[in-house]
């Protein structure tokens, strides 16, 4: 090995603590980049392969009932490749030993041939035999939630008639990767089941023989789905079409797309922070290294090393750290990426996971880390190369200090000399002090921005499930039903309070903007369902006009006082212009709300309701469920409590995992910044501090000067970090303000406290390490050498 390379390795070894700290920061940057990019790539690849191999459709529409002959007209729409007509039946499901109500959706399979579109991935068993009337395939999430296996049975109430179904297989579908029930806010794996049956028996049971109520289409590449959607709406209107929509608006696909957007953001935001911090640390360390090696540089030059040799020598120092950090980072990133991808499978039900780490992802992560490291140290490298040998032989001139802040601050006279040293030192290098503060503040910011999500989701859930929805059970009817049905429900044992509601599918139109959702009618003064304003205060539903979710008003760009066109997609399909009378605050979904009677007047259908909300007595609930099962008009009942608990539990586990890694990553940053600053301060001031020890200062008094400076910088970083954290959080949620959900920017004091705590602890660890070095200062040695 060449001597200069030996020097390189010995320098690295001597500075191993600092090199390791920087290596870890770089590794964190590369790891988060590799993790997010590979997770994003893998989920997208998995999605693409699943969609392709299982022929996920491009356009969807459901309707009340259409004759089979309509299929030819649909197939004839320009650009349509294949059309699969289906029967989709709402059902009530009953599983042995499970008392809570279960709603379900049963989708038909052609039976005599494999489906053209939306094919099933069979996890076990086989597709239903079309010649048997009672066979069904069950979605994996539902089967897992109830530990159902092929051969087991369950009951389904279809069109008011109970049937016993035998499970022939367990499957997954590209249509239901995010298995959320229509109108639900959270997935309910046990309370909502997706089943598939052969077309013939299902059609017979649901009164759809020779007819269908749902179509899935594939379209030719280059076809505008918008055109197909419009044509499909025209064709299905007279058959009670509920509004066609393209894949982009398909609910499961939408959720996945939103998730990918967030992942992409993560892939860029966090690595940028880590690599920025790493570049700063490398800058500080290399600048100091070159400063202490002035004479060595001069001697090497005197002996004929060229400028470029020396620049390259120190560049190698940087690149070795980057290379080692990248290696660790890639390893950790792959491991994290695999785990994160699998964590996504908690909510997104892919049948398989194709984990992929592309060379491009690795090249990008490593390239950016090397690039930022070089950018951070370039000036120092050039300075080292340019150092004139004769000048470099001279010791660097003593640090120049000036009177500054101390001389203008009133209480300065009372400060001791050690405190003056701290303040003058910071004043002398304000940029470095500032960068140190910013570097350490990013540790706080990483924690705040990484963990506020728990607070935000907590608020979303509290608002939706505590403030807005105050019922514990929703009962829905198979058809709009006379209001008096609610009275028969109220007579049931265990029902404490009941309120009826109406809900109709509708397309809202304002100018050229449209949105398809539901228009809900609430009784005046509803106690079980509150509409809230920005301050979460209750809004009274006016007797006329429509209230819109604020996000929907934004989406349609309509303001209170303006007229909204409502196209109802049910019954007589009235199209009416209704004044918007206000907006309400909701975090999940977007809807329109009217007074129940006003909605019924708009429908011109008489006093009808779609269902009812109830509060129930927990002790008699099972009996109530049993009674509801006997009522043919009851399409289903939904208990939010259990689903919410499950959702929160899964969420909490994930958040705990995130918090754990966040803590490690932030700790690495805080440690890297504080430890490196302190180590360099120690190297710069060893002589000064040793002199003070010689003059009779105790170890503690000397430590105060160095550690006091670090403490001051760290404490300054805390509020800055809390602010930056809020900035990052605000930036991060900017992309998740969608019609599906809006994530509010709320940060609990406990999140702030945790962030501050983690940073203080890692600063303490750095300080403890430095204190050990400080205690080992060789008093005699340091006095012999000149600066």
């Amino acid at each position: 090995m060449r001597a200069i390379n030996r020097k390189l390795f010995r320098d690295l070894w001597r500075m191993k603590g600092q090199a390791l700290a920087i290596l870890l920061v770089i590794a964190s940057g590369v790891a988060t980049a590799v993790m997010s990019i590979s997770t994003n790539d893998s989920l997208r690849l998995t999605q693409a392969v699943f969609y392709r191999d299982y022929r996920f459709a491009d356009v969807f529409v459901s309707m009340k009932r259409a004759p089979q002959s309509l299929a030819q007209q649909i197939e004839a729409i320009p650009g349509v490749l294949q059309a699969e007509t289906r029967v989709v039946a709402a059902a009530r499901l009953e599983v042995e030993n499970y008392a809570d109500p279960i709603t379900g959706m049963i989708v038909s399979l052609p039976g005599n041939r494999p489906p053209l579109l939306n094919r099933l991935f069979l996890r076990s068993g086989r597709l239903p035999d079309p010649d048997r009337e009672n066979e069904t395939v069950v979605s994996e999430t539902f089967a897992l939630a109830h530990t159902l296996h092929a051969g087991d049975t369950l009951s389904a109430v279809i069109n008011g008639r109970r049937r016993t179904l035998v499970i022939s297989g367990i499957a997954l579908s590209p249509e239901f990767i995010y298995p959320i029930a229509p109108g639900s806010l959270i997935p309910d794996f046990a309370g909502y089941g997706i089943l598939w049956m052969a077309r013939k028996p299902l059609g017979a049971a649901y009164g759809m023989e020779g007819a269908f109520n749902d179509v899935a289409l594939s379209i030719a590449p280059g076809t505008n789905p918008r055109d197909v959607v419009d044509r499909l709406d025209e064709l299905t209107r007279r058959y009670g079409g509920r509004g066609a929509y393209a894949r982009a608006d398909q609910i499961s696909h939408r959720y996945l797309s939103e998730e990918f957007k967030q992942l992409e953001q993560m892939a860029f935001l966090f690595p940028a922070i880590f690599l920025g911090v790493a570049a700063f640390l490398l800058n500080v360390v290399v600048t100091r290294l070159i400063a202490t090696q002035r004479e060595q540089i001069a001697i090497l030059k005197a002996f004929g090393y060229r400028n470029v040799d020396l620049a390259f020598h120190y560049l190698e120092f940087v690149l070795l750290i980057v290379a080692a950090g990248s290696l660790v980072g890639i390893g950790a990133g792959v491991w994290l990426g695999r785990n994160l991808s699998e964590m996504y499978l908690d909510f997104y039900k892919f049948p398989f996971l194709l984990y992929e780490l592309t060379p491009e992802a690795v090249a990008l992560a490593v390239g950016i880390s090397a690039g930022s490291a070089i950018a951070g140290t370039l000036v120092s490298l050039i300075r080292a190369a340019r150092l004139a040998p004769a000048e470099a032989m001279q010791p660097a001139s003593p640090g120049r200090y000036h009177r500054g802040l101390l001389e203008v601050v009133a209480f300065a006279g009372r400060l001791g000399q050690p405190t003056r040293m701290i303040i003058r030192n910071l004043e002398r290098r304000p940029v470095k002090a500032l960068l140190t503060v910013i570097g350490a503040s990013f540790a706080v910011a990483i924690l705040v921005s990484g963990m506020f999500f728990t607070d935000a989701v907590g608020l979303m859930i509290d608002v939706q499930f505590k403030l807005a929805n105050r019922y514990d059970l929703t009962v829905s009817f198979t058809e709009p039903t006379a209001r008096r049905a609610a009275y028969s429900l109220s007579a049931l044992d265990g029902v404490e309070h009941i309120e009826p509601f109406r809900s109709v599918p509708a397309r809202f139109r304002a100018g050229h903007r449209t949105y398809m959702t539901s228009l809900d009618g609430h009784p005046p003064g509803a106690r079980l369902r509150h509409l809230l304003d920005d301050r979460f205060e209750r809004v009274t539903l006016p007797p006329e006009g429509v209230l819109l979710t604020d996000a929907l008003a934004d989406l349609l760009q309509i303001r209170p006082g303006e007229l909204l066109t409502v196209e109802v997609l049910e019954g007589a399909r009235p199209v009416r212009r209704v004044p918007v009378v206000g907006t309400i605050k909701e975090y999940v979904g977007v809807f329109g709300y009217m007074d129940l009677s006003a909605l019924n007047r708009l429908m011109r259908e008489g006093d009808l309701i779609s269902g009812a909300w109830m509060t129930t007595n927990p002790s008699t609930r099972d009996g109530l469920f049993a009674k509801l099962r006997q009522m043919p008009r009851v399409a289903g009942a939904t208990m939010q409590a259990k689903a919410l608990a499950n959702f929160q539990e899964t969420m909490a586990q994930q958040m705990l995992t995130f918090a754990f890694f966040n803590t490690i990553l932030a700790g690495v940053v805080a440690f890297g910044v504080v430890f490196n600053s302190a180590r360099i301060a120690l190297s710069e001031r060893a002589r000064e501090l040793a002199s003070l020890r010689v003059l009779g200062f105790t170890r503690g008094e000397v430590a105060y000067i160095l550690i006091g400076e670090m403490a001051l910088l760290t404490f300054a970083a805390l509020p800055v970090g809390l602010l930056i954290g809020r900035g990052i959080a605000a930036f991060a949620i900017r992309n998740v303000q969608t019609d599906l959900f809006r994530v509010p920017l709320v940060i609990h004091p406990s999140t702030d406290a945790f962030a501050v705590g983690v940073v203080l602890v890692s600063a303490l660890i750095s300080v403890w390490l430095i204190k050990r070095d400080l205690d080992r200062l060789d008093l005699v040695e340091v006095l012999k050498t000149k600066e």
């Binding site: 000399q417 050690p418 003058r424 010689v694 009779g696 200062f697 105790t698 006095l783």
Partner: protein
Amino acid sequence: MGEVSVQALRGVDFELFRGELVVLLGPSGSGKSTLLNILGGLDRPTAGAVHFRGRNLSQAGDRELTEYRRNEVGFVFQFYNLIPSLTARENVAIVTEIAKNPMKPEEALAMVGLEDRLDHFPSQLSGGQQQRVAIARAIAKRPGVLLCDEPTGALDSATGVVVLEALERVNRELGTATAVITHNADIAAMADRVVHVSDGHIASVETNAVRKSPSEIHW
């Protein structure tokens, strides 16, 4: 490679009296710095005893040695070792703030002739001025013993003389026992006693009948 132990001093028997100015003379590597470090409580002898006013320093722990340096010892170093971020006055104050019975920093600086340089930072002072600040810092605590390691080593002759004058004045006016290490034989003339150190032991001790004034010394 393990630790190699080098015997820096052996069989040294040395006394320093109140008010006395002693020059320790010897070539580099002779052990005079080690002797000074032991006298100043920076180092402990592996064998033998060191006493200061009845206290056995060779048995003292780190805390006790710090206490000794804090209250009894004034150090002057070859490279001044001032704190660059503190002014002349503050460099002295940093010691007087922790001493038991110090003089005022201004007083100490006046003794070395720097009363008009109180608010200058080290980078604004010449080498000789910096060394005089160092002397002021050393004596401001009214130490029992003043130890100077090559105090003129980094200075030219004319500046060195000014520094020596300051040392001499402090010794005379405060009666501080002073030991000056040097390899510059010319400086020996200002001492009460001259101790020649070579090869780790005291080769000879001579007593000057008359102390020369630093202004009469040239090199």
